[in-house]
Amino acid sequence: MSRVHAPRGLAELLALRADLPGAALMAGGTDLVPRSRARGGLPEDVILLQDVPELHGITSGKGLLRIGAAATHAALLADPRVGRGLPVLARALACLASPAIRNMGSIGGNICTASPAGDTLPPLHVLEARVELAGREGVRELSLAEFILGPGRTALGPGEVLCAVLVPRPEGFSLQHFEKVGLRGAMAIAVVSLAAMLRLDGRGRVAEARLAWGSAGPAVVRCPAAEAALLGRRPTLSALRAAARHARAAVRPIDDLRASAAYRREVAGNLLLRLADLSSR
C-alpha cells in the first residue's frame, strides 16, 4: 500500500519533497497511474499536487503568462489567454489524449513526463517557454531544452518541484500552427508532430520562423536551418519544400510500433507544406 500525502501549500510540499526523495508527485495521475500499473503498483509515497494553490493559477505578468504547473489542460483551453492568445499551444491541447484526460492531466505533468511524444512540448518550444523550479534553496529558471534531457529524463533536482511554466507573449506571429499525426482521430500518440510560428512582414514575407517537431528525436527537435530557409520568403510551397529538406536532415526519429523512422522523417518535412494552405487562406 502506498502512502498518499496531500500538502496544502508549496512550503509543505517542498518539505515533504525533501523528506521523501523517492516519492512520486501526482497532479492528474494520467501518466503516473498507468505507468505504475504496468510496474506492479504505485511508489511507496505519492504526493498529490491538487491542494497546492501555488501550482494552480494562470497569471499574466509583464510580457508573459505564468501557468501553474498543476493547471489542467482543460483549464488552459478554457482560459482565453491561452485559447485565443496562444493558438499554437491551444491546438495541441485540444487534441491531447481525450477530454477526461484533459480534465485531469496537467501541463507540468506533460513536461515532467518528458516523452518525445508529449503534445504540449513542441508548442512550448516554439513559444520559447521557460520552466520555474522551486526547491528549499530557492527558485531557478531553465529553458525547456535545458530542462528536458531525453526520454523520461529531466533536470528536476532532488527536492525540487516544477512550479510554473513561463510563456512569453508572442508578438506579431500571425501564423501559428500545430499538427499531430496520430493513428486515429482521438486518443492518439503523436507519430510525429509539428509546431510552427511564423511572423510575417508587411509584404507577407517571413521575418521570423520558429519550428519544432515532436516524436522526431529523443526530445523536441528545433531546426535552425529550416527556419532560416524561410526567412525573407513568402511561405509558398516551394519555400516550404526547401525548409522541409532541412527538417528531414535534422530530425532523429526512431522505428517503433507506430511507424518507421523513415516515415517520420518524410512526414516531418511534409507537415511544413500545410503552412502553405494556411497562409493562403
Partner: protein, 766 residues
C-alpha cells in the same frame, strides 16, 4: 399485398436501453457476491516451452492466499475446445503460447492475488517455436502439438466445382493477387469475466459473460470431470462479444477455482492486458487468388489458396476457414472453382470466432480481385459486380444453389440509386488542399447459421405471468446485438400485444431451454422462429381457456386482443390477468423448437468437420467515401452507404445499429487494428497501443435495407449482424486506390503504407 404489421418494421427503443443508460443493468462483471474470493491465472509468458516445474510454495504461503492450483488439481480431461478439444485448462507438460495458464490462484483480494501470481515460480525449458504458418508448414518445423497425424496442420480442406482451376487457361482475362489480413482483437469493453460458487448440494452456479451458456456446461464438465447437469450458467447482457466470448474464456478456470473455494463465491475478471494475451483473435490470413472472366466481364473460374493462422489451439479454426472458403468467390456466380484452405497451428495467440468469421478475410481478396478485373476490362466496378451477382437459383463458387432469398443484386441496385453514389465524382473534385478523395464499392455475403454438420436449433419458452403479462425466457445471450429486444418485438407481433407487456429473462440454464450460441447470424433467426411457434401454441391455448371463461362454443370467434381474449361478435372479453389466475404455470407456459433448414446440395467440399455449406446468406453492398492526406498518408472514411439484405427488418433502429457498428468495426480492422507480435509475444497489449476507432474517426453511415423477405425466417428476417463488416475493408481499399493510386493488398492500410504505396506520379504532388 404487403403484410400488415403492428410492431414489426417500426422503430422501437430496445428494452435494455434505459436500464443500461441508468447504470442499473448488471453485467456479469457487476456481480460481487458477499465474501468473494478473487481468482487469477498465472500465464506462461513465453510462447513455447516444456514445463519442468511449477513451484507454488511461495505463493501459497502468502497470507490471504486460499489456494494455488496446478494441472495436478484438474480431475477431468483438462481439455477445452468447441470442436477439437486441444486447449488445456491449466498447462501441465508444455506451453504453446504466451497466454497459456499454468497456475490458478485464489486470494482474498486483488492485491494479494497479484502478489501471489508473481510469486508462482515457473521453471520452463524454452522450445523453438513457429510464428507464422509458412514456418509451421516447413518440413521438420517444431510441432505445436506432438503426436498429431497432420503435424501443424489443423485442417486441410478443399472445394472443387465445375472443372476447377483448369478453366482459368480458357479465360481471356485473368487477374491474380496475394492478400493478407491481420489478427484482430475483439476488444469488447467488458473483458472476460464471471463469478462462480459451489453450493452445498454440489451444484456449481456461475454467472459468466458468455455467448454460449448451454455449451459451456458440457465444456466445463468434460474438462473438469463434472456432471454437466449440476452446472448452472447464467448469462446476463454482455458488454460486447463479437465472437470472442464464444467458447471457454474464464469458464473452466473459474469453475475449477470454485471447486476449491470451500463454498465461497469466486470472481475472475481478466484485465485488459490479460484479455489481449489470452483472449481469442480474428485469424490472420494469407490469400492467393486467380480469377478468370470472359471479355464481357462474366466470371468463369476461380483459384484460391487460403492459409489461416490458428495460433496455439483450434478453437473454431476449421469452421472459420470453412465459412471463408464457402464465401471465397464472393456473392457471385462462378461455375468453376478450386478453393483450398489450410488452417495451421503456430505458437501465436489463439485465433477463434470473430464477427465475419473467415468470410471477412476472403471478402477482402475477392472484392479487390473484382476491382482489378474491372480495371483490366475497363468496366465500372459496380456494374461488373451486378453482372455477376448471385440471384435466386444461381450457384455460388462453392457449388451451393441459392434457393432462399438472394438480394445481392437488389443491394447493388439500391447503392447505385443512392444520391451519394451519383454525387461521388463531384465530391471527389471538392477535396480540400493536400487531400485526395476516392470512392470504393464492395459487395459481401455471409452464411447464416451453423451450416451443415450439426443442428442449428433453438427452443423458445414463453409464459403468461400470473398478472397477465408475458415473460420470454431468452436462451441466447444478448451481447449487444439486441436479440433480446427483438424477441419481445417478435412475441408482441405474434400475440398482438404491446411490447411493453413483455418481460425478458436472460439466459439461465436452470430455466431457459437449450438454444445454441449467440453467433453465426443465427441468434434472432433461430430462436425467433422457435418463439413464433411458441407464441402460436400459447395463443391457441389462451383462446381455448378464454372460450371456457366466455362460454363460447369453440375458439373460432375468439381473438387474442391486447391484454384480453375477446369474443369478436359480442365484444365480450376476458382480461388476460383474470385468465392467468385460472391457469397453473404449466398451462400458462408454451415451448417450441425450431431447427434451421439446411441446403441439400452435396458439393465438392472435402475436409470439413462442420459448418459447410449454408442454405441462407445475408448480403450487403457498401460504398466507402474516403479521404487520403497526401502529406501523411492518413485515411479518413467520410461516409459509408450500405444496402443490406438481411431479410425483413424487424426494428429499423436495431438494424441501423448493427449495420453501422459492423462497418465501423470493419473500418478499424481496415485502418488501424492489428495485433502485432514478435516471436509470439504481443507488442500492443492494451488500448493505448491497440487502436480501435473513436467517435472522432466514425464516418456518417447511411443504412439502407432492400425489400427482402426470407420466407423461412421469423416475419421474414434472416441475419444482419456480420455481413457489413466484410465489406468495410475492401470498400475502403478501393476508395484509397481511387483517391491516390495506392493499391494495398496487405491490411491494415496504415498511413505509412499508404504514403509509401502511392505511384511515383502522385508522390511528386506535395
Amino acid at each position: 399485398m404487403p403484410q400488415e404489421f403492428s410492431q414489426i418494421d417500426r422503430r422501437h427503443p430496445r428494452n435494455d436501453a434505459l436500464p443500461k443508460a441508468l447504470g442499473l443493468e448488471r453485467f456479469a462483471a457487476d456481480h460481487y457476491p458477499e465474501g468473494l474470493l478473487w481468482a487469477g491465472a498465472r500465464r506462461a509468458g513465453i510462447p513455447h516451452a516444456r514445463i519442468r516445474t511449477v513451484d507454488v510454495s511461495a505463493a501459497a504461503a502468502l497470507p490471504g492466499v486460499v489456494r494455488v492450483l496446478t494441472r495436478a488439481d484438474v480431475a477431468g480431461s483438462n481439455l477445452q475446445g468447441i470442436v477439437h478439444k486441444d486447449q488445456p485448462v491449466l498447462a501441465g507438460d508444455k506451453v504453446r503460447h504466451c497466454g497459456d495458464a499454468v497456475a490458478l490462484v485464489l486470494a482474498v483480494d486483488r492485491e494479494t492475488l497479484a502478489r501471489a501470481l508473481s510469486l508462482v515460480r515457473l521453471d520452463l525449458e524454452p522450445l523453438p517455436g513457429v510464428f507464422d504458418p509458412a514456418q509451421a508448414l516447413k518440413k521438420g518445423a517444431p510441432l505445436v502439438h506432438e503426436g498429431r497425424r497432420g503435424g501443424n496442420v489443423l485442417v486441410r480442406a478443399s472445394i472443387r466445382t465445375g472443372r476447377g482451376a483448369a478453366v482459368l487457361r480458357e479465360c481471356p482475362v485473368v487477374v491474380r493477387g496475394t492478400f493478407s489480413t491481420p489478427m484482430q482483437a475483439h476488444a469488447f469493453i467488458e473483458t472476460e469475466n464471471g463469478t462462480a460458487r459451489l453450493l452445498p448440494d454440489g451444484t456449481l452456479e456461475m454467472t459468466v459473460s458468455t455467448q454460449a451458456p448451454f455449451r459451456d456446461r458440457f465444456e466445463i464438465a468434460q474438462a473438469l470431470g463434472l456432471d454437466p447437469m449440476r452446472i448452472r450458467v447464467v448469462a446476463p447482457y454482455l458488454g460486447g462479444g463479437f465472437g470472442g466470448k464464444d467458447g471457454a474464456t474464464v469458464q473452466c478456470l473459474l469453475a475449477l477455482a470454485a471447486l476449491h473455494a470451500g463454498g465461497r463465491p469466486v470472481k475472475m475478471w481478466w484485465e485488459r492486458e490479460e484479455s489481449m494475451l489470452a483472449g481469442y483473435k480474428r485469424h490472420a490470413a494469407r490469400l492467393t487468388y486467380a480469377l478468370g472472366a470472359d471479355r464481357d466481364g462474366t466470371l468463369r473460374a476461380l483459384s484460391c489458396r487460403i492459409v489461416m493462422d490458428s495460433g496455439a489451439y483450434a478453437h473454431l479454426g476449421g469452421e472459420v476457414m470453412a465459412l471463408g472458403m464457402e464465401s471465397a468467390g464472393g456473392p457471385y456466380r462462378i461455375p468453376h472453382a478450386d478453393i483450398r484452405g489450410l488452417c495451421v497451428y503456430t505458437n501465436n495467440p489463439v485465433a477463434g470466432a470473430f464477427r465475419g468469421f473467415g468470410a471477412a478475410q476472403t471478402a477482402f481478396a475477392a472484392e479487390r480481385m473484382m476491382d482489378r478485373l474491372a480495371e483490366k476490362l475497363g468496366m465500372d466496378p459496380l456494374e461488373l459486380r451486378l453482372r455477376n451477382a448471385l440471384r435466386r437459383g444461381d450457384r455460388n463458387a462453392a457449388g451451393v444453389t441459392m434457393t432462399a432469398s438472394t438480394g445481392m443484386a437488389a443491394c447493388l441496385e439500391a447503392l447505385r440509386a443512392h444520391p451519394a453514389y451519383a454525387a461521388r465524382e463531384a465530391w471527389k473534385r471538392a477535396a480540400p488542399p493536400h487531400a485526395r478523395r476516392g470512392a470504393g464499392v464492395a459487395a459481401a455475403c455471409i452464411g447464416v447459421g451453423y451450416g451443415r454438420g450439426l443442428p442449428d436449433a433453438a427452443t423458445a419458452r414463453i409464459e403468461l405471468t400470473e398478472t397477465g403479462t408475458f415473460r420470454i425466457f431468452n436462451a441466447v445471450p444478448d451481447m449487444g446485438q439486441g436479440n433480446a429486444s427483438a424477441f419481445a418485438l417478435i412475441a408482441a407481433e405474434a400475440l398482438g400485444q404491446s411490447p411493453a407487456s413483455f418481460e425478458l429473462v436472460q439466459p439461465d440454464t436452470a430455466c431457459c431451454l437449450p438454444s445454441g450460441s449467440s453467433s453465426a447470424g443465427r441468434t434472432t433467426y433461430t430462436y425467433g422462429n422457435a418463439l413464433v411457434r411458441a407464441c402460436g401454441a400459447l395463443r391457441d391455448r389462451l383462446l381455448v381457456r378464454g372460450a371456457m371463461a366466455l362460454l363460447a362454443d369453440d375458439t373460432a370467434d375468439l381473438t387474442l386482443a391486447p391484454g384480453a381474449v375477446r369474443h369478436v361478435k359480442s365484444g365480450r372479453a376476458v382480461p388476460l390477468a383474470l385468465l392467468a389466475r385460472m391457469m397453473i404455470l404449466e398451462d400458462r407456459t408454451a415451448t417450441a423448437e425450431f431447427v434451421m433448414p439446411v441446403t441439400p446440395d452435396a458439393t465438392g467440399g472435402k475436409g470439413f468437420v462442420i459448418g459447410f455449406p449454408h442454405l441462407l446468406f445475408a448480403y450487403a453492398a457498401v460504398l466507402a467515401l474516403s479521404e487520403v492526406d497526401e502529406l501523411t498518408g492518413a485515411v479518413r472514411v467520410r461516409r459509408f452507404v450500405s444496402a443490406t439484405d438481411g431479410g425483413r427488418v424487424l426494428n429499423p433502429q436495431g438494424f441501423e445499429q448493427q449495420v453501422a457498428g459492423a462497418l465501423i468495426q470493419g473500418m478499424g480492422w481496415a485502418l488501424s487494428e492489428d495485433v502485432l507480435t514478435r516471436e509470439g509475444r504481443i507488442l500492443n497489449p492494451d488500448l493505448s497501443t491497440y487502436l480501435v476507432p473513436t467517435a472522432a474517426d466514425a464516418p456518417e453511415v447511411d443504412c439502407l435495407a432492400v425489400d427482402s423477405v426470407e420466407e423461412t425466417g421469423p416475419f421474414g428476417m434472416k441475419g444482419i449482424g456480420e455481413v457489413n463488416l466484410n465489406a468495410a475493408l475492401p470498400s475502403i481499399g478501393a476508395a484509397v486506390q481511387d483517391a491516390c493510386g495506392a493499391r494495398l493488398d496487405a491490411a491494415p492500410l496504415t498511413p505509412e503504407k499508404v504514403l509509401g504505396a502511392r505511384p511515383r506520379r502522385a508522390r511528386r504532388t506535395p
